[in-house]
């Protein structure tokens, strides 16, 4: 297997799908000539040209809505939000038109669109640029949401997202773009990871750490510390996809460990973790030996200061501390 960065893996996935289907078109601010604000699309404009890779004005409601309309006609737009945080100016298109048009038309329309971009805190860009909206969008039936934590998952899931015939909101992470990891070789065939499949990133017996996105990386670090310093063997379950959600994998892990810490970069009121908590307590009530605990962002808008932003977010230290309260 090769080693690629998360960014390269994503790009490879996009490139393959551009080759795979003429109707796939990439759009967004600075995705073409500038090669992408975070360089995910680097080189694609040069390779695929003006028709397939399209720079847009700063009009998220306009261009995302345009993508939705085009998708109803059979185009398969992959729209970049420079930051997922900018969903706020396109919210109506994202949660009404994309999510509801199939339903309101009694199934006559469909909307095979992907909206992708980074959705994370931790880069000292302040409250308006640091939203983590996985839970926000997963709340809308009609939408699908996923959030890969590794290069391989990034590639496999973006390809599944583009081939999916429903709207998929794909949440990346600026702090993972440079992270390296193994990705299957091209000779080994088309590498697609289905939406809705969680992955145990580390087996364990004493407690389940359940997370998605960069929090998975934090959980893996925490698991190491827990093992080395406390003799606790934690399992790390990466949800990967938020909706569809692999509820079976969650319950299986809980049935094994009987203790759970959910890690979620979201603010604590709600978020994916509140929903996972609800599912676990409802469906594995008798399996639980302790209350489900969560590590979320400290409950305030995202702070700018680089001296404390990492403390506001989940991090291995905070995870370890939380685990120690229930084992």
């Amino acid at each position: 297997m090769r080693t690629l960065t998360y960014r390269e893996a994503l790009r490879e996935g996009l490139d393959e799908e551009l080759a795979h289907d003429d109707n796939v078109v990439l759009m967004g601010e600075e995705v073409a000539e500038y090669n992408g604000a975070y360089k995910v699309t680097e080189g694609l404009w040069k390779k695929w040209g003006d028709k397939r890779i399209v720079d847009t004005p700063i009009s998220e409601a306009g261009f995302i809505g345009m993508g939705i309309g085009a998708s109803m006609l059979g185009v398969r737009p992959v729209m970049e939000l420079m930051f997922w945080s900018f969903h706020s100016v396109a919210f109506d298109q994202l949660v009404n038109n994309a999510a509801n048009v199939r339903y309101m038309s009694g199934g006559l329309c469909s909307c095979p669109i992907v909206v992708r971009g980074p959705a994370n805190g931790g880069t000292n860009v302040g409250a308006t640029h640091s939203h983590v909206p996985e839970g926000l969008f997963a709340a809308f039936p009609g939408l699908k949401v996923c959030s890969p934590a590794t290069p391989a998952d990034a590639k496999g899931l973006i390809k599944a997202a583009i081939r999916d015939n429903d709207p998929v909101y794909f949440m990346e992470n600026t702090l993972l773009y440079g992270m390296e990891g193994e990705v299957p070789d091209l000779e080994d065939g088309d590498f697609v990871i289905p939406l809705g499949k969680a992955e145990v990133k580390k087996e364990g017996t004493d407690i389940s750490l359940i997370a998605h996105g960069r929090s998975v990386i934090h959980c893996l670090e925490a698991a190491k510390i827990l093992q080395e310093e406390h003799g606790i063997n934690a399992e790390v379950l990466d949800l990967r996809s938020i909706r569809p959600l692999d509820v079976d994998a969650i319950l299986a892990s809980v049935a094994k460990t009987h203790r759970v810490v959910l890690v979620d970069e979201s603010k604590p009121f709600g978020g994916v973790s509140a929903m996972v908590s609800q599912l676990i307590q409802e469906h594995a009530f008798d399996e639980l030996d302790a209350p489900i605990k969560r590590v979320c962002a400290i409950d305030a808008p995202a702070i700018y200061s680089k001296h404390v932003e990492n403390e506001q977010l989940p991090n291995p230290k905070r995870i370890v501390e939380k685990v120690l309260t229930i084992v």
Binding site: T56, G69, S71, L73, Y103, G106, D164, L245
Partner: protein
């Protein structure tokens, strides 16, 4: 009345008498359909809102009469006329309002959400101006897929003040998108007159100008004028991939929706009557066709009777159709689950 006689423009000259009768018949059908809807609404056969188009028929019928197989259209919640003029049946439309399984949207959309993608009609949208980027996208799709055609995207005079419309105008011009925005200016957004909702210089369509988009203002009571000017815009879109904004002046006789108890407060009954007497698009066209010798009283009565009969049949169809079941609530959410694909079997798509 327009100074210029648009009957003589080539696109109208090319109309056969049969086609003229068809256009007239469409308008009458739409009006009868809506009058029946109003009655059924009062009889509590429907829920929610009912936004009537009565008084505006020439706009939908005139513009959509120009559509060929590659031309598409999309509109807001006041969508019955566009649906019928796109070729949808009264049965499926009435049943939709009755909230029945046989409705065009299986009873899931209601009066505001008629759809018929097979007839190039993309709804029926409830959020003011929310359809304007979608119309842009349909037209973008046509260009992308290299189909010759355009998309007509309708909106109200109040809708021009939603940001999404402006974002769409800029993109339409910048990207060269074959979309024609049709502002159906009926003078009011709910109870607010155009003067109280929009700042403007002369007209609303002029907002196009600063985006280097062509625009025009149309007297909507004359279907010939509607067709003549829309044809120019649609040809510009199809041939040059250039957008247009058309503002078509028109009028609605009833309230914003049937629930609008105030509609005789913000407008006087005299105003409404004056419009009906002098500008009713069906009367105006009927008189022209009588003059032209295309119509006669007998034919008019026949058309009327047929429309009423069709409407009555649609009401019966709707009445007799089955309501959705509780299980129906959960379909049409995801394409993948509806089609029972491999993907749909992985992970939970639904929660409780």
């Amino acid at each position: 009345m327009s100074a210029f006689d648009f009957a003589s423009s080539p696109i109208n000259q090319s109309l056969t008498p049969e086609r003229k009768i068809e256009l007239y018949t469409q308008m009458v059908r739409i009006r009868r359909f809506e009058q029946a809807s109003m009655k059924q609404y009062a009889a509590d056969k429907m829920g929610g809102f009912l936004h009537l188009y009565i008084g505006q028929e020439s706009v939908a019928v005139g513009t959509l009469s120009l559509c060929g197989e590659h031309d598409h259209n999309i509109t807001a919640y006041r969508c019955h006329a566009h649906a019928l003029a796109s070729g949808m049946s009264m049965d499926e439309c009435m049943a939709e309002m009755f909230g029945k399984q046989t409705g065009c949207s299986k009873g899931k959309g209601g009066s505001m959400h008629f759809f018929a993608p097979d007839k190039n009609f993309w709804g029926g949208h409830g959020i003011v101006a929310g359809q304007t980027p979608l119309g842009l996208g349909l037209a973008y799709g046509l260009k992308y897929l290299e189909r010759e055609g355009c998309c007509l995207c309708f909106l109200g005079d109040g809708a021009v003040n939603q940001g999404a419309f402006h974002e769409s105008l800029n993109i339409a011009s910048l990207f060269g998108i074959p979309v024609v925005y049709v502002i159906e200016n009926n003078g009011y957004s709910m109870g607010t007159s155009q003067e109280r909702s929009s700042a403007f210089n002369g007209c609303l369509a002029q907002r196009a100008e600063a985006y280097a988009i062509e625009w025009d203002v149309v007297d909507g009571s004359d279907i010939y004028e509607v067709r003549a000017k829309a044809n120019i815009a649609m040809e510009r879109a199809r041939k040059e991939h250039k957008p247009t904004v058309l503002e078509i002046d028109t009028y609605r006789y009833y309230g914003h929706s049937v629930a609008d108890a105030n509609h005789k407060v913000y407008r006087t009954p005299e105003d409404i009557q004056a419009y009906k007497d002098n500008h009713d698009p069906i009367n105006v066209f009927r008189n022209k066709l009588l003059e032209e010798g295309v119509l006669n009283e007998e034919l008019i009565n026949k058309i009327n009777a047929a429309a009423k009969e069709e409407t009555a049949a649609a009401v019966k169809f709707a009445e007799d159709s089955p309501a959705p079941t509780i299980a129906d609530i959960s379909t049409d959410v995801y394409w993948e689950t509806d089609n029972d694909t491999e993907a749909s079997k992985i992970g939970h798509h639904f929660f409780s």
